[in-house]
Subunit: 415 residues, 2 copies
């Protein structure tokens, strides 16, 4: 029979081994310091130890009167106690006021309570006439007071390196006084798609051609996973021009992602080229879709050749290229997708034992339970199967499919 | 007793009513057309009807030979059939080749199959000698062929207005030929925090002061929810300067978000000002934390005054301001948070019936089930309660807390 497999992948590598082998070879990018206002979604480069207490002082949690709690003991509507108002502390004020027995200080929410006080009585539980404040309620020590360090104590680990900074982390960092923060610099990534059948969207469709959707799709995924796309180009299936692009991009790219040109057709030059001038780590992975994936290095650039069909390219990005980007970013969680526990709503037989299968599913919530409904597929290229789904179930290589009602883990598409 | 409530909120409005009332008053922003390569996370402004079939032609799903399926009927290893090779179609080629009985055409994956053929036989199931191709397998019609329109048919609704464009939608749009797309323009939002206790991070901490964390936190949330922060400033608790800022910002802001200055302390000028020069829709919502929220309008700008304590500001943003931004964006889903079904791991009593309570929880996966562990709180201001949690459980106003083991819905923090 015809021998086309010049550099083929007769043996498919297990996906988990492939990922482990790959991740071990990836180093974390250098850090950079940026303004905290630009830090949303960036990856924290260092553990944050608090240098101050939050709050930095005992402060009032109410508008009322700061008081020595014991002076209120026994007070009630029927048995009011009289205290003397000796001053006011507004929020933001630093005060030298000190209260003694049966003295109170008018205080705003958030203001530091004065020396000698250990509780705040609400306005509503008092009456004032001249400078005499009548107390109608008894308070336990600490009542309506936020203690110094109650939120975060000085010298504790407040945030761990490797987290992605969200609004709440930015709040915490700024409350600790940070206006800058050290984050891992973004991997620079070149995105190429090859295939003589591809034409650019926005131009008229020609006979035998299809619009190039992989380049914008992979670029969007790179952005979503925290990389920067430094170039995104289409290249012809021509060995010399692919090689030139590759050599050029190695200069400035932490990662180069190709789609197409990785199978074993007559025009699939990429495996040949990488074998000639770089190193192939893996070619062919035991997963469906996505089996023709090629992983290699050229100098220090990591190279991924993903399948040309969009569904396969998407899934192999999520499983392989995406975690590689996040390893470069120093993320503590390499796969950012959210897992949902669900029940599968029909039998799903699989053909091809030894192959990890990705099943695209739509989720429906029924009575506090999620039901996973397989999305009907015709071929891995089907883009509508992605837009019609919410996520993916993985059927392990040694499992003969899924039984209706079985509990499954659905990994949601990344947002 | 002392009367401080100049414009107070003696009666708290139910949250759901508040949200419904608010959303009804919000119009969707105008649309704009942008490059598809910039469309990640933008909101689609119009339904997309496919103008072409995808794939646009019957194409081969294999490297092999295009054939009339019936010519293969009965073929097997023991009973091979001979056919005549009449040409080759490479991917991307438009071909006028037409096959007749017992003729085949060499074809690449993705190439259009020639007229007269209805199946593709894999290379591995054939042998070639000169121009005679021997067939060792029988094929059903349609085998290894992706039919025209199999992924998306012409003239069908391919995407709905109101979705946020992710990588897979960008792939679909470009595969339909779009290089530009109409999206809803981003709401322009001014962010202010007021409070004489606030100082800026990056400066030394002064006695009685705390670092301003609300301004960067709310700005990050605005970005995350799809708005643009056009200004983010701290203002002193001074009626005149707050009023001037407000009047200035109304000129160019779809929305103005304040934090702080909304309760009933002596220096809380915001409700007064908005009552004077604008319209208050709601002041005081029956939720904890977050009850002092004020919602109003000044001319066409929507105004939110959120509580000054970061935890309360964060939660009231998620429940009220965030969905308002998404309504302006025309999102079909106004609350973007993902829901997880979990079991609560301890009793959670609540005080204050008639109030919606937000319980911050951490999630743990145990044997394919999520367990929600309440995060210990001391006051709504506690930022560490947000960074230590994964999401929020809502305990409805009429419910006396949660019982250990009860099933709950956890809404994850927005990512």
């Amino acid at each position: 029979m015809e021998k086309l497999h010049k550099i083929g992948f007769s043996k498919l590598a297990p996906l988990e081994d492939t990922i482990q082998k790959l991740l071990m070879k990836i180093k974390v990018n250098p850090l950079e310091e940026i303004e905290i206002t630009k830090a949303l979604n960036r990856v924290l480069a260092e553990d944050i130890i608090s240098e101050i207490d939050i709050p930095p002082f005992d402060r009032s949690a109410m508008d009322g009167y700061a008081i020595k709690a014991e002076d209120s003991f026994g007070a009630s509507l029927k048995n009011p106690k009289k205290t003397k108002l000796i001053g006011t502390i507004e929020i933001g004020e630093s005060s030298n006021l000190k209260i003694n027995k049966d003295e109170v200080v008018r205080i705003s929410t958030g203001a530091p309570i004065p020396e000698g006080s250990d509780a705040v009585i609400k306005i509503e539980d008092t009456e004032i006439e001249e400078n005499i404040v009548t107390i109608y309620n008894a308070l336990a020590p600490g009542k309506n007071v936020s203690k110094r360090g109650e939120d975060i104590k000085k010298n504790v680990l407040a945030l761990n390196a490797g987290i992605e900074l969200k609004a709440e982390h930015i709040a915490l960092l700024t409350s600790l006084g940070f206006n800058k923060v050290k984050v891992i610099s973004k991997p620079k990534i070149s995105v190429f798609s090859s295939g003589d059948e591809l034409i650019e969207p926005g131009t008229p469709l020609q006979s035998g051609k299809i619009y190039n959707s992989n380049k914008p799709m992979i670029s969007a995924l790179v952005n979503l996973y925290g990389g920067i796309v430094i170039r995104a180009e289409s290249i012809k299936d021509n060995k010399e021009s692919i090689k030139i692009k590759l050599i050029e991009s190695v200069e400035d790219s932490h990662m180069i992602i190709f789609t197409g040109g990785t199978s074993v057709g007559t025009k699939d030059y990429l495996p040949e080229i990488i074998n000639e001038i770089g190193t192939i780590i893996t070619h062919g992975v035991a997963m469906r879709p996505g089996s023709p994936v090629l992983i290699g290095f050229l100098n220090k650039s990591l190279i991924f050749c993903l399948p040309g069909s969009p569904g396969a390219a998407y899934i192999s990005f999520l499983k392989i290229s995406g975690p590689a980007i996040r390893k470069m970013l120093g993320c503590s969680v390499l796969d950012p997708r959210i897992e949902i526990v669900a029940r599968i709503d029909k039998d799903v037989p699989v053909t091809g034992l030894g192959i990890l299968h990705f099943l695209r599913v739509k989720l429906e919530k029924r009575e506090n339970e999620f039901i996973a409904i397989p999305v009907k597929l015709k071929g891995s290229g089907v883009i509508s199967s992605l837009t019609a789904s919410d996520g993916i179930i993985e059927i392990p290589p040694n499992q003969e499919g899924l039984k209706k009602g079985e509990q499954v883990i659905v990994r949601l598409f990344p947002k």
